[in-house]
Amino acid sequence: MQVTGAQALIKSLEMEGVEVMFGLPGGAILPVYDPILDSPIRHVLVRHEQGAGHMAEGYAMVTGRPGVAMVTSGPGATNIVTPLSNAYMDSTPLVVISGQVATASIGTDAFQECDITGVTMGITKHNWLVKDPADIPRVVAAAFHVATTGRPGPVLVDVPKDVSNATLEWYWPASEEDLDLPGYHPCRSGDPELVRRAAELLMAAERPVIYAGGGILKARAVEGLRELAERTGIPVVTTLMARGAFSDSHPLCLGMPGMHGNYTAVTAMQRADLLVALGARFDDRVTGKVDAFAPGARVVHVDVDPAELGKVRKPDVGIAGDCRLVVDELLEALDSLGLGHDPSAAGGTTGARARPGTRAASRPDLSGWWAQLHRWQQDFPLHYDRSAEGPLKPQLVVETLRDLCPEDTIVVAGVGQHQMWASQWWRFDHPYTWVNSGGAGTMGFAVPAAVGAKVGRPDRTVWAIDGDGCFQMTAQELVTASAERIPVKVAILNNAYLGMVRQWQEMFYEERYSEVYLSPDLPDYVKWAEAMGCVGIRAEAPEEVVPAIEEANAVDDRPVVVDFRTDAFEKVFPMVPAGTSNDAIQVHPDQQEALEKSRRGMA
């Protein structure tokens, strides 16, 4: 069957099971937009190509399927560079199709020409410039394979206009061997000997911590992680990328570590004698000063990307492998060491017992460790001033939202203070309910990512918790949401500042505020929301929060924006100042004196 390159491209996407793509047409990609009219694939027309990329990311993060975006050449392609970089940092599977000028014009500075494969080389897992129409089905299949296997990530396929217009004999690669990827061999299961050594370290540890990263979610290893934690009684910290990978309500969960992690999660890692890093990459926002990070801990590091092992911290046992498979192997190894599953121990925090009928596992009693952890939790919980006076506290908004929404609500954040408050004060009890920009820290991520998440999970309530600075970067995608009937909800924690930068200037630049003031009412967010076809609501006083959220939750036929006017002076605590040791963690000022006292006591 003869088809055009454009038809082959769309048909290839159909063969890959694509149900929706996000994009915006233009000259070089025009031929490919024609067969979309005849395809069952839904196309969401964005208002800016950055929106297409973040929507595809949001879609991928909640569904586990690759997100697909399509843009034209030149500025269309460069506008999606930020989402590619974002997806690369957070290992999100993304397939971006870009139009390119005709092959004969490549290199001549033709209209809307940009060397996008060159530009995105360092921020994609791989990219392709297709010069032969007969390559299209194979390259698209290879692109999906590379994006979704091993450590997931973004890929880009650049298709010149003449290649889209040319014809080819349709085919579909029958197997992985036909993809022509001789150098691509993602790792799968772990080395059994290394797994056994890791299991032995687990059995011997007195103060172990499981350091769960986003890889748990990517590998769909949530159940294995729970089994591992429950069987061993080892506490679990969930990084910003792993929120929801282990239920916040679980007694073994310590919550988020890192620069704005809670005191217990941060300090548990500092005092641990064993860190079991699963799909985590020792990001500087987690480790603080690397030389001072978890100084007494041995490290078991499991990652599907071998280059992560030893990149930041040299592991005692580094296992290259898929987290789900390696965790299962680890559970088997624990079996053989006599630590089987005991249902009665599930959720216990005193260390699990040996499976009946097997040799009793001899391992240190973790009850002393747990007593210490519980003391920290009791003494230094997350805290803010809840007294009724004064301006609206952003944390109160997040808490109220949490309590008034279904517990499987998907929460999407941008980057900054609001993101940290959302991560801290929401209770993540389900995987794939938290979508945010972790590694890249992309302001403006939330609105489009929420739209993509809602497209992927129309059955769920999707709330973006956004900052006023972030919102202004990509708010126009609410026009997309209104036009496409994608009823997302956006809570703007509007403190009239680029709040995180303001916080740093207050704390580290002697309150010299440089270029951080926005405005609470310029733009008027309610009018703006209404102009974009959304319901706009404003809440200024604490007593207005509940009615505003209830009103927003009652809307299900269009997007809603709630402008929460929050306290501009509220800061995110705890905080580990950048570049310092995690031991220098600062808690909320109300708690700091008690912390100093306990530090003196320890000294």
Partner: protein
């Protein structure tokens, strides 16, 4: 710090060299020398011989990051003691009547060749182990060198003992 030789088998496709060079600069690694040419299997694969000066710990990072490039098919790490290394040098040297015989003598001692003769200049060539080229280059400096170019080394494992292969990395399938 000492130099390490990475012999990298890559798909012979447009842009592969840019991917490798980009990776080195992006990750802050330094390429000392580089030689590229198509190799076996017709023109399907190329071999890139890269000399890097890094600590062993960083070398492991270089190898693992390189290995992530989809077009990289295989990587061998050759330590100089396990490798046969060769390099080629061309130099144009001022050689008046009085100097000419001295230059030719030096070239003869090293087993090089005079490949071009001009009125008052000679172009000479030497192929050999890189440290021999270093010696030759040093001695040549006592003449007036108008131009000098080295190719960067190529290397293959010494026979009789296997090269320490960077692959398989523990835990990898297949």
């Amino acid at each position: 710090m000492r130099h390490h030789i990475l012999s990298v088998l890559v798909e012979n496709k447009a842009g592969v060299l840019a991917r490798i060079a980009g990776l080195f600069s992006r990750r802050g690694f330094n390429i000392y020398s580089l030689a590229v040419a198509p190799t076996d299997e017709g023109e399907r694969l190329s071999r890139i011989t890269i000399v890097v000066d890094v600590e062993p710990a960083s070398l492991e990072q270089v190898v693992r990051q390189l290995d992530k490039l989809v077009n990289v098919v295989a990587i061998s790490h050759l330590s100089p003691s396990e490798a046969v290394e060769r390099e080629l040098l061309l130099a144009t040297v001022a050689a008046t009547m009085t100097e000419r015989s001295q230059v030719i003598e030096l070239v003869d001692v090293f087993g090089g060749e005079v490949v071009n003769v001009g009125g008052d200049q000679l172009t000479v060539m030497l192929a050999g182990p890189p440290d021999t080229l270093d010696d030759f280059e040093a001695l040549l400096a006592s003449f007036r060198v108008a131009g000098l170019q080295r190719t960067g080394r190529v290397a293959l494992p010494k026979l009789g003992r296997r090269a320490a292969r960077a692959r398989p990395i523990p835990g990898r399938a297949g």
